[in-house]
Symmetry: C2
Subunit: 197 residues, 2 copies
Protein backbone atom coordinates (compact mmCIF):
# COMPACT_ATOMS: atom_id res chain seq x y z
CA UNK A 1 0.00 0.00 0.00
CA UNK A 2 2.36 2.63 1.25
CA UNK A 3 1.97 6.37 1.46
CA UNK A 4 -0.99 8.34 0.26
CA UNK A 5 0.50 11.76 0.76
CA UNK A 6 -2.86 13.40 0.53
CA UNK A 7 -2.16 15.33 3.66
CA UNK A 8 0.92 16.93 5.12
CA UNK A 9 2.27 15.94 8.50
CA UNK A 10 0.75 19.02 10.07
CA UNK A 11 -2.60 18.44 8.46
CA UNK A 12 -2.64 14.86 9.70
CA UNK A 13 -1.93 15.96 13.26
CA UNK A 14 -4.58 18.65 13.10
CA UNK A 15 -7.14 16.19 11.71
CA UNK A 16 -6.45 13.64 14.44
CA UNK A 17 -6.68 16.19 17.24
CA UNK A 18 -9.91 17.57 15.82
CA UNK A 19 -11.40 14.10 15.50
CA UNK A 20 -10.37 13.27 19.07
CA UNK A 21 -11.98 16.43 20.41
CA UNK A 22 -15.18 15.73 18.52
CA UNK A 23 -15.41 12.19 19.88
CA UNK A 24 -14.90 13.49 23.42
CA UNK A 25 -17.44 16.30 22.95
CA UNK A 26 -20.08 14.10 21.35
CA UNK A 27 -19.63 10.78 23.09
CA UNK A 28 -17.77 11.57 26.30
CA UNK A 29 -14.29 11.06 27.73
CA UNK A 30 -14.68 7.34 28.16
CA UNK A 31 -15.49 6.77 24.50
CA UNK A 32 -12.23 8.16 23.18
CA UNK A 33 -9.95 5.61 21.51
CA UNK A 34 -7.17 5.61 18.95
CA UNK A 35 -9.14 3.32 16.70
CA UNK A 36 -12.11 5.69 16.62
CA UNK A 37 -9.85 8.62 15.87
CA UNK A 38 -8.22 6.71 13.02
CA UNK A 39 -11.57 5.61 11.59
CA UNK A 40 -12.88 9.17 11.76
CA UNK A 41 -10.03 10.58 9.69
CA UNK A 42 -10.04 7.64 7.29
CA UNK A 43 -6.74 6.05 8.23
CA UNK A 44 -5.53 2.91 9.96
CA UNK A 45 -4.66 2.92 13.66
CA UNK A 46 -0.98 2.36 13.04
CA UNK A 47 -0.72 5.63 11.12
CA UNK A 48 -1.48 7.65 14.23
CA UNK A 49 1.68 6.35 15.86
CA UNK A 50 3.69 7.99 13.14
CA UNK A 51 2.55 11.41 14.30
CA UNK A 52 1.96 10.90 18.00
CA UNK A 53 3.77 9.04 20.74
CA UNK A 54 0.58 7.43 22.05
CA UNK A 55 -3.02 8.19 23.08
CA UNK A 56 -1.89 10.25 26.06
CA UNK A 57 0.10 12.38 23.66
CA UNK A 58 -2.98 13.00 21.51
CA UNK A 59 -4.97 13.85 24.62
CA UNK A 60 -2.31 16.37 25.61
CA UNK A 61 -2.81 18.14 22.31
CA UNK A 62 -6.58 18.12 22.73
CA UNK A 63 -6.13 19.55 26.22
CA UNK A 64 -3.81 22.21 24.91
CA UNK A 65 -6.54 23.29 22.47
CA UNK A 66 -9.02 23.29 25.34
CA UNK A 67 -6.71 25.68 27.20
CA UNK A 68 -6.74 27.89 24.09
CA UNK A 69 -10.53 27.76 23.93
CA UNK A 70 -10.76 28.59 27.61
CA UNK A 71 -8.46 31.54 27.15
CA UNK A 72 -10.53 32.91 24.26
CA UNK A 73 -13.69 32.34 26.27
CA UNK A 74 -12.39 34.18 29.33
CA UNK A 75 -10.64 36.97 27.46
CA UNK A 76 -13.92 38.60 26.57
CA UNK A 77 -15.07 38.46 30.17
CA UNK A 78 -12.27 40.67 31.32
CA UNK A 79 -13.46 44.02 32.51
CA UNK A 80 -12.07 46.86 34.51
CA UNK A 81 -14.88 47.10 37.00
CA UNK A 82 -13.38 47.17 40.46
CA UNK A 83 -16.39 45.40 41.89
CA UNK A 84 -17.02 42.61 39.41
CA UNK A 85 -13.79 41.79 37.59
CA UNK A 86 -13.18 38.50 39.38
CA UNK A 87 -16.73 37.29 39.66
CA UNK A 88 -17.17 37.87 35.95
CA UNK A 89 -14.08 35.76 35.22
CA UNK A 90 -15.12 33.04 37.65
CA UNK A 91 -18.59 32.81 36.17
CA UNK A 92 -16.99 32.60 32.77
CA UNK A 93 -15.01 29.62 33.98
CA UNK A 94 -18.16 27.96 35.29
CA UNK A 95 -19.99 28.63 32.02
CA UNK A 96 -17.16 27.16 30.01
CA UNK A 97 -17.03 24.03 32.16
CA UNK A 98 -20.75 23.52 31.53
CA UNK A 99 -20.70 24.35 27.83
CA UNK A 100 -17.68 22.17 27.16
CA UNK A 101 -18.06 19.69 29.96
CA UNK A 102 -16.42 16.69 28.33
CA UNK A 103 -13.37 18.63 27.14
CA UNK A 104 -13.10 20.19 30.57
CA UNK A 105 -13.35 16.71 32.07
CA UNK A 106 -10.61 15.37 29.81
CA UNK A 107 -8.40 18.21 30.95
CA UNK A 108 -8.98 17.75 34.66
CA UNK A 109 -10.44 14.36 35.40
CA UNK A 110 -8.49 12.10 33.08
CA UNK A 111 -5.74 10.33 35.03
CA UNK A 112 -2.50 10.98 33.15
CA UNK A 113 0.54 8.89 34.08
CA UNK A 114 2.24 10.52 37.03
CA UNK A 115 5.58 10.74 35.22
CA UNK A 116 3.94 12.64 32.37
CA UNK A 117 5.80 15.87 31.78
CA UNK A 118 4.30 18.61 29.70
CA UNK A 119 6.29 20.59 27.13
CA UNK A 120 7.25 24.20 27.69
CA UNK A 121 4.60 25.64 25.36
CA UNK A 122 1.92 23.74 27.27
CA UNK A 123 2.99 25.21 30.59
CA UNK A 124 3.02 28.62 28.97
CA UNK A 125 -0.65 28.34 28.05
CA UNK A 126 -1.41 27.80 31.71
CA UNK A 127 0.70 30.80 32.65
CA UNK A 128 -1.17 32.86 30.07
CA UNK A 129 -4.49 31.85 31.62
CA UNK A 130 -3.25 32.80 35.05
CA UNK A 131 -2.34 36.20 33.73
CA UNK A 132 -6.08 36.79 33.27
CA UNK A 133 -6.71 35.93 36.89
CA UNK A 134 -3.83 38.07 38.10
CA UNK A 135 -5.06 40.94 35.97
CA UNK A 136 -8.61 40.73 37.35
CA UNK A 137 -7.38 40.34 40.89
CA UNK A 138 -5.16 43.38 40.62
CA UNK A 139 -8.00 45.52 39.27
CA UNK A 140 -10.02 44.66 42.37
CA UNK A 141 -7.22 44.93 44.89
CA UNK A 142 -3.82 46.52 44.92
CA UNK A 143 -1.33 43.85 45.92
CA UNK A 144 2.45 43.50 45.99
CA UNK A 145 3.59 41.71 42.83
CA UNK A 146 5.01 38.86 44.90
CA UNK A 147 1.64 38.18 46.48
CA UNK A 148 -0.36 38.50 43.27
CA UNK A 149 0.86 35.19 41.89
CA UNK A 150 0.10 33.18 45.01
CA UNK A 151 -3.26 34.79 45.67
CA UNK A 152 -4.34 34.16 42.09
CA UNK A 153 -3.35 30.55 42.36
CA UNK A 154 -5.19 30.06 45.63
CA UNK A 155 -8.28 31.82 44.33
CA UNK A 156 -8.37 29.90 41.08
CA UNK A 157 -7.76 26.57 42.77
CA UNK A 158 -10.71 27.33 44.97
CA UNK A 159 -12.95 28.22 42.05
CA UNK A 160 -11.81 25.11 40.24
CA UNK A 161 -12.51 23.01 43.32
CA UNK A 162 -16.04 24.32 43.59
CA UNK A 163 -16.57 23.74 39.88
CA UNK A 164 -15.24 20.19 40.07
CA UNK A 165 -17.31 19.20 43.05
CA UNK A 166 -20.35 20.79 41.49
CA UNK A 167 -20.04 18.78 38.29
CA UNK A 168 -19.15 15.45 39.85
CA UNK A 169 -21.27 15.87 42.96
CA UNK A 170 -18.40 14.30 44.83
CA UNK A 171 -18.24 16.43 47.91
CA UNK A 172 -21.72 17.71 48.47
CA UNK A 173 -25.02 16.06 48.74
CA UNK A 174 -27.14 19.17 48.77
CA UNK A 175 -27.88 20.17 45.19
CA UNK A 176 -29.65 23.26 46.43
CA UNK A 177 -26.44 25.27 46.45
CA UNK A 178 -25.39 26.32 42.98
CA UNK A 179 -21.75 26.54 41.95
CA UNK A 180 -22.30 30.24 41.37
CA UNK A 181 -23.40 30.81 44.97
CA UNK A 182 -20.39 28.95 46.33
CA UNK A 183 -17.93 30.79 44.09
CA UNK A 184 -19.51 34.08 45.03
CA UNK A 185 -19.10 33.24 48.69
CA UNK A 186 -15.47 32.22 48.21
CA UNK A 187 -14.61 35.43 46.39
CA UNK A 188 -16.48 37.65 48.82
CA UNK A 189 -14.76 36.47 51.98
CA UNK A 190 -11.33 35.73 50.60
CA UNK A 191 -11.17 39.20 49.08
CA UNK A 192 -12.53 40.76 52.24
CA UNK A 193 -9.74 39.04 54.12
CA UNK A 194 -7.14 40.29 51.66
CA UNK A 195 -8.40 43.86 51.87
CA UNK A 196 -8.24 43.76 55.63
CA UNK A 197 -4.62 42.74 55.99
Amino acid sequence: MGRRSKHSREEMQEMAIKAAREIVAEEGVRELSTRKIAAKIGYTVGTLYHFFKNLDDIIMYVNSQTLDMLYEYLKHRINKNKQTALISLANGYLDFSKKHFSEWQLLFEYPMPKDMQYPRWYEEKITKLFKLVEQSLSTQIKLPKIDLSRKSRVLWSGIHGVCLLYHTGKLHKTKSETAETLVEDLLKYYLAGLKMI
Copy 2:
Protein backbone atom coordinates in the same frame (compact mmCIF):
# COMPACT_ATOMS: atom_id res chain seq x y z
CA MET B 1 -17.64 -26.97 37.05
CA GLY B 2 -20.28 -25.17 39.06
CA ARG B 3 -20.13 -23.61 42.46
CA ARG B 4 -17.26 -23.84 44.85
CA SER B 5 -19.02 -22.29 47.81
CA LYS B 6 -15.76 -21.75 49.62
CA HIS B 7 -16.77 -18.21 50.36
CA SER B 8 -20.02 -16.50 51.21
CA ARG B 9 -21.43 -13.76 49.07
CA GLU B 10 -20.21 -11.14 51.51
CA GLU B 11 -16.73 -12.64 51.65
CA MET B 12 -16.51 -12.66 47.88
CA GLN B 13 -17.47 -9.00 47.68
CA GLU B 14 -15.01 -8.05 50.38
CA MET B 15 -12.23 -10.01 48.67
CA ALA B 16 -12.87 -8.37 45.31
CA ILE B 17 -12.94 -4.86 46.76
CA LYS B 18 -9.75 -5.51 48.71
CA ALA B 19 -8.03 -6.89 45.61
CA ALA B 20 -9.15 -3.89 43.57
CA ARG B 21 -7.83 -1.45 46.17
CA GLU B 22 -4.50 -3.25 46.29
CA ILE B 23 -4.10 -3.15 42.52
CA VAL B 24 -4.85 0.57 42.52
CA ALA B 25 -2.49 1.25 45.43
CA GLU B 26 0.37 -0.83 44.03
CA GLU B 27 0.06 -0.34 40.29
CA GLY B 28 -2.00 2.81 39.87
CA VAL B 29 -5.48 3.76 38.73
CA ARG B 30 -4.88 2.93 35.10
CA GLU B 31 -3.87 -0.63 35.86
CA LEU B 32 -7.15 -1.61 37.46
CA SER B 33 -9.17 -4.21 35.53
CA THR B 34 -11.82 -6.79 36.27
CA ARG B 35 -9.58 -9.55 34.97
CA LYS B 36 -6.79 -8.62 37.37
CA ILE B 37 -9.21 -8.49 40.27
CA ALA B 38 -10.57 -11.93 39.37
CA ALA B 39 -7.10 -13.42 39.00
CA LYS B 40 -6.04 -11.94 42.34
CA ILE B 41 -8.87 -13.61 44.23
CA GLY B 42 -8.55 -16.87 42.30
CA TYR B 43 -11.78 -16.74 40.32
CA THR B 44 -12.84 -16.24 36.73
CA VAL B 45 -13.89 -12.84 35.43
CA GLY B 46 -17.49 -13.87 34.95
CA THR B 47 -17.87 -14.58 38.65
CA LEU B 48 -17.42 -10.91 39.51
CA TYR B 49 -20.54 -10.04 37.60
CA HIS B 50 -22.52 -12.16 39.95
CA PHE B 51 -21.66 -9.85 42.83
CA PHE B 52 -21.23 -6.51 41.12
CA LYS B 53 -23.03 -4.69 38.35
CA ASN B 54 -19.80 -3.79 36.56
CA LEU B 55 -16.33 -2.33 37.08
CA ASP B 56 -17.73 1.09 37.96
CA ASP B 57 -19.74 -0.57 40.68
CA ILE B 58 -16.61 -2.17 42.13
CA ILE B 59 -14.84 1.18 41.96
CA MET B 60 -17.71 2.77 43.86
CA TYR B 61 -17.17 0.30 46.69
CA VAL B 62 -13.42 0.95 46.71
CA ASN B 63 -14.14 4.68 46.83
CA SER B 64 -16.55 4.18 49.66
CA GLN B 65 -13.79 2.45 51.63
CA THR B 66 -11.46 5.31 50.78
CA LEU B 67 -14.00 7.70 52.27
CA ASP B 68 -13.96 5.54 55.42
CA MET B 69 -10.16 5.59 55.53
CA LEU B 70 -10.16 9.34 55.05
CA TYR B 71 -12.63 9.77 57.88
CA GLU B 72 -10.52 7.65 60.24
CA TYR B 73 -7.43 9.55 59.18
CA LEU B 74 -8.99 12.96 59.79
CA LYS B 75 -10.84 12.04 62.97
CA HIS B 76 -7.61 11.97 64.96
CA ARG B 77 -6.62 15.38 63.65
CA ILE B 78 -9.64 17.03 65.20
CA ASN B 79 -8.69 19.35 68.00
CA LYS B 80 -10.35 22.11 69.92
CA ASN B 81 -7.69 24.71 69.42
CA LYS B 82 -9.35 27.89 68.24
CA GLN B 83 -6.29 28.80 66.20
CA THR B 84 -5.38 25.58 64.47
CA ALA B 85 -8.48 23.39 64.17
CA LEU B 86 -8.95 23.91 60.45
CA ILE B 87 -5.33 23.98 59.37
CA SER B 88 -4.79 20.74 61.21
CA LEU B 89 -7.66 19.14 59.34
CA ALA B 90 -6.55 20.58 55.99
CA ASN B 91 -3.01 19.31 56.46
CA GLY B 92 -4.46 15.95 57.35
CA TYR B 93 -6.28 15.96 54.05
CA LEU B 94 -3.10 16.83 52.18
CA ASP B 95 -1.17 14.10 54.02
CA PHE B 96 -3.80 11.54 53.19
CA SER B 97 -3.81 12.47 49.51
CA LYS B 98 -0.06 11.96 49.43
CA LYS B 99 0.01 8.76 51.45
CA HIS B 100 -2.83 7.19 49.50
CA PHE B 101 -2.41 9.01 46.25
CA SER B 102 -3.79 6.36 43.91
CA GLU B 103 -6.89 5.71 45.99
CA TRP B 104 -7.42 9.43 46.27
CA GLN B 105 -7.01 9.69 42.51
CA LEU B 106 -9.55 6.92 41.90
CA LEU B 107 -11.99 8.82 44.07
CA PHE B 108 -11.56 12.20 42.40
CA GLU B 109 -9.90 11.82 39.02
CA TYR B 110 -11.60 8.76 37.61
CA PRO B 111 -14.30 9.81 35.16
CA MET B 112 -17.48 8.04 36.26
CA PRO B 113 -20.43 8.01 33.85
CA LYS B 114 -22.38 11.23 34.28
CA ASP B 115 -25.62 9.37 34.96
CA MET B 116 -24.00 7.44 37.81
CA GLN B 117 -26.03 7.87 40.95
CA TYR B 118 -24.61 6.96 44.29
CA PRO B 119 -26.61 5.05 46.93
CA ARG B 120 -27.81 6.73 50.09
CA TRP B 121 -25.17 5.21 52.33
CA TYR B 122 -22.47 6.54 50.03
CA GLU B 123 -23.76 10.09 50.24
CA GLU B 124 -23.95 9.72 53.99
CA LYS B 125 -20.23 9.01 54.21
CA ILE B 126 -19.62 12.31 52.50
CA THR B 127 -21.96 14.06 54.89
CA LYS B 128 -20.10 12.46 57.79
CA LEU B 129 -16.81 13.79 56.46
CA PHE B 130 -18.27 17.25 56.14
CA LYS B 131 -19.33 17.12 59.74
CA LEU B 132 -15.63 17.13 60.62
CA VAL B 133 -15.10 20.28 58.59
CA GLU B 134 -18.17 21.95 60.06
CA GLN B 135 -17.02 21.00 63.53
CA SER B 136 -13.55 22.47 63.03
CA LEU B 137 -14.90 25.57 61.40
CA SER B 138 -17.31 26.19 64.24
CA THR B 139 -14.56 25.85 66.86
CA GLN B 140 -12.62 28.57 65.08
CA ILE B 141 -15.54 30.86 64.32
CA LYS B 142 -19.05 31.23 65.67
CA LEU B 143 -21.40 31.09 62.70
CA PRO B 144 -25.15 30.79 62.18
CA LYS B 145 -26.01 27.15 61.55
CA ILE B 146 -27.34 28.04 58.10
CA ASP B 147 -23.99 29.52 57.06
CA LEU B 148 -21.90 26.73 58.54
CA SER B 149 -22.84 24.25 55.85
CA ARG B 150 -22.09 26.53 52.94
CA LYS B 151 -18.87 27.93 54.38
CA SER B 152 -17.60 24.41 55.06
CA ARG B 153 -18.34 23.39 51.52
CA VAL B 154 -16.63 26.40 50.04
CA LEU B 155 -13.62 25.98 52.28
CA TRP B 156 -13.24 22.29 51.58
CA SER B 157 -13.73 22.71 47.86
CA GLY B 158 -10.91 25.22 47.95
CA ILE B 159 -8.63 22.93 49.89
CA HIS B 160 -9.46 20.10 47.54
CA GLY B 161 -8.76 22.33 44.55
CA VAL B 162 -5.34 23.26 45.85
CA CYS B 163 -4.63 19.63 46.59
CA LEU B 164 -5.69 18.51 43.14
CA LEU B 165 -3.71 21.09 41.27
CA TYR B 166 -0.71 20.36 43.45
CA HIS B 167 -0.75 16.66 42.63
CA THR B 168 -1.48 16.94 38.95
CA GLY B 169 0.44 20.15 38.37
CA LYS B 170 -2.41 21.18 36.13
CA LEU B 171 -2.83 24.78 37.06
CA HIS B 172 0.51 26.00 38.23
CA LYS B 173 3.93 25.88 36.69
CA THR B 174 5.85 27.06 39.73
CA LYS B 175 6.64 24.12 41.91
CA SER B 176 8.16 26.43 44.47
CA GLU B 177 4.86 26.92 46.24
CA THR B 178 3.88 23.96 48.35
CA ALA B 179 0.27 22.84 48.73
CA GLU B 180 0.62 23.59 52.45
CA THR B 181 1.50 27.22 51.79
CA LEU B 182 -1.44 27.69 49.45
CA VAL B 183 -3.89 26.04 51.82
CA GLU B 184 -2.58 28.14 54.69
CA ASP B 185 -3.10 31.27 52.60
CA LEU B 186 -6.64 30.24 51.65
CA LEU B 187 -7.61 29.57 55.25
CA LYS B 188 -6.01 32.70 56.56
CA TYR B 189 -7.79 35.18 54.32
CA TYR B 190 -11.10 33.40 53.94
CA LEU B 191 -11.42 33.13 57.69
CA ALA B 192 -10.31 36.71 58.15
CA GLY B 193 -13.07 37.71 55.76
CA LEU B 194 -15.62 35.66 57.66
CA LYS B 195 -14.60 37.15 61.00
CA MET B 196 -14.93 40.65 59.63
CA ILE B 197 -18.48 40.42 58.37
